[in-house]
Symmetry: C2
Subunit: 146 residues, 2 copies
């Protein structure tokens, strides 16, 4: 795998590693106030989604889907937000964010201005569910053709 010097997703994991497959890595993003914010990082350095061939695009989005499904099933979020932006770090990574009506930005996107402080008890309630959620996520990610 080619490492691009200076690319944080080539040179390091980019967060707390939850799953490392042959082609995708899933990390917990550890963004304050967003307890269930994961990133699906394509391990090979590729700036854009369409740099992947068709089979790899399917694999990548099936990994995103597994993360989304685990968040939905175990946290019952108000909404899931998916995004691949990469303006600052042009190495393909998908943000998968469980959004709640009580979170600091809802209904605005994570990247907009905060509207309120996130209630610490609600954040803690979600955090307490992560070990079980991540165990199931890893189990399902390992079943993908990766």
């Amino acid at each position: 795998m080619t490492v691009h010097p200076g690319c944080p997703f080539c040179e390091g994991p980019g967060g707390r590693v939850v799953f490392e497959g042959a082609k995708v890595r899933v990390i917990h993003a550890e963004e304050v106030g967003f307890p269930a914010f994961y990133r699906v990082i394509w391990r090979e350095h590729a700036p854009e989604f369409s740099d992947l061939d068709a089979a790899d695009r399917v694999l990548c989005m099936e990994a995103v889907t597994v993360v989304e499904q685990c968040l939905r099933e175990q946290l019952k979020p108000t909404k899931i937000n998916l995004a691949a932006l990469g303006n600052m770090v042009p190495h393909l990574h998908w943000h998968v964010i469980a959004r709640f009506e009580w979170d600091s930005h809802f209904p605005s996107p994570f990247w907009a201005a905060a509207q309120r402080a996130a209630p610490v008890d609600r954040v803690a309630d979600v955090q307490a569910l992560l070990p079980k959620l991540e165990a199931e996520m890893v189990r399902r990610l390992a079943l993908l053709q990766d």
Copy 2:
């Protein structure tokens, strides 16, 4: 196709229609200062990406990929941004945005605060390329199994 009352993507096209297939619609979003901002809207009302079955997820992302590839080939943007958020309109739609170093927000996301005014001549240059770009986009979208 079930129409959800009050849903803008069930009750209307949601923008200038570029392509209408059996399952996906592509519209030009007409966001000021972002001349190459398209949305791939799943025609059936589905809040989340993982509400689609595996075959439909592939079709949906192949449509997103066609839009992305046409933007890349014909506009050479600095970056493509992809996002499915839906906090305000929970009907699956993918934002596909060509981003440029000169645009009003770069490198921040579209949803963050503007950093500058978009130069009108650069915006006009991109707009002039859209008819050819959209003709090619429609040609390729029609080839998908939709």
